[in-house]
Symmetry: C2
Subunit: 237 residues, 2 copies
DNA sequence: TGAAAACTGTGATGCGATTCACAGTTTTTT
DNA sequence: AAAAAACTGTGAATCGCATCACAGTTTTCA
């Protein structure tokens, strides 16, 4: 059975299922069957995939690109809740109940995603309990991650919040290149501010300070190099 | 098969499994079998059930009482991450990998809990996929709840944070009584402060203000009555 | 029930993040 | 490659939360 792959600038793997750990360990036949259920979509940078409060009933797997999930707050800002990259999935809440989306989902870059309708996915779960264990594992990781974020938001030192989010980005989006560790920031300063509950100016100032202290080095607006990993992890402790 | 129930002041149901939705829909035989796997424990108020960083490999179900999960922060405070009450379960992270606990768990009241070792629970999951679906559902709810907490932490107005946590407590621990809606607060002022990343004094002042504005009424230190639900939900918006 | 312990309320003070405004820089677009 | 748009950096003033200190109150426990 031949399967058509969608066009995708940033995709390393050809198929969604190859990229997502929840589908590991399935036979080629099973894989092919899943592909039959999948709808492939692409979006341009800046497009909104889902609106906060909108009905939504699919599991979505990110094939390539980056997405942000946010809610608009009362004072006109955005509270960013999650960032998603290749291999991440979302919408699992929709799989158990008729709920509306808890956030707006926006493409930070051009993205390619695969979606599976609720019914099909439910059936899949019943046939392959291993998938549901994998999802369980992922959700539990996500929970842990959110707990850590929450912890660093509660910690009073603002320095630490900024450092923590940079470490976070580094782990998820960074890569070692010719001995240097570079991170392409998924958000601009205002986005970072909205992620950790500060203002744009404060983020700017704190990051400048980290740069002056030789902890990071900025390369344009979007890329930072991490010079002193230790200092970044410990700052504020 | 007869099963021994542990003594438990606050328990409404006799057995853990009757109280936890993840075991719904099992036959009496299955229920009895699960009881055979369960270890029953009680703890006194103030006792620590698990230490942050300690090895832990069991699923824990709260039978009666209240627990708080927290981590000590660098500046000597506690960041409270979760509150657990009857029917809640925790430790699901331990079921998938050899991890250490991500927090300290402390009894806020006398508590009774049931625990199931990892191996036994793993086997249970394989035999009863429905359980794993239920857990999936619960985790996804918890994730949503944490997202909301995060959102209200990011929102800059401190008023809103305090209101949000009171609504939170009301939903989880409140009850209507003779037309009045009363909440027995699970935490003292300092605990609330540690939950939402403020100081004790600020929480005091904000709550006093809510009281002056006729939104809530304090009845001693531990109990508040909610007078104006609307105002509480909207304050700051 | 009464004493001790724990918790809460409140004023004064200082620090630091926010706000506002605008210049400077980087990135995108054509 | 030039122009436009988006984003970043920074100073000055303000406002509000944290801190400190202690009195007042509630709760616990003997």
């Amino acid at each position: 059975m031949e399967v058509i792959a969608i066009h995708c600038d940033q995709c390393k793997e050809r198929y969604c299922t190859q990229q997502v750990s929840i589908f590991n360990g399935l036979t080629p036949e099973e894989n092919a069957k899943i592909h039959g259920l999948i709808q492939r979509l692409s979006f341009k940078k800046g497009e909104l995939l889902i609106l906060d409060g909108q009905a939504y009933d699919r599991l979505m797997i990110v094939h390539g690109g980056r997405l942000k999930a946010y809610r608009d707050t009362a004072d006109g800002k955005q509270q960013i809740l999650h960032l998603f990259g290749p291999g991440d999935f979302l919408g699992e809440r929709a799989l158990f109940a008729e709920t509306n989306s808890a956030y707006t989902l926006e493409a930070l870059t051009n993205v390619a995603v695969c979606t599976i309708p609720r019914e099909a996915f439910q059936a899949l779960l019943d046939e392959h309990p291993s998938i549901s264990k994998k999802i369980l594992e992922t959700l539990s990781d996500r929970l842990t991650h959110l707990e850590r974020t929450l912890e660093s938001m509660g910690a009073k030192t603002i320095e630490k919040r900024v450092s923590a989010v940079l470490v976070d980005f580094a782990e998820k989006f960074g890569k070692r290149e010719q001995g240097r560790f570079e991170v392409e920031l998924p958000l601009n300063r205002e986005g970072i501010a909205n992620y950790i509950g500060l203002t744009r100016e404060t983020v700017t100032r704190k990051m400048k300070r980290l740069e002056r202290d030789g902890v990071i080095r900025a390369n344009g607006n979007k890329i930072i190099e991490i010079l002193d990993w230790e200092a970044l992890q410990d700052s504020g402790e």
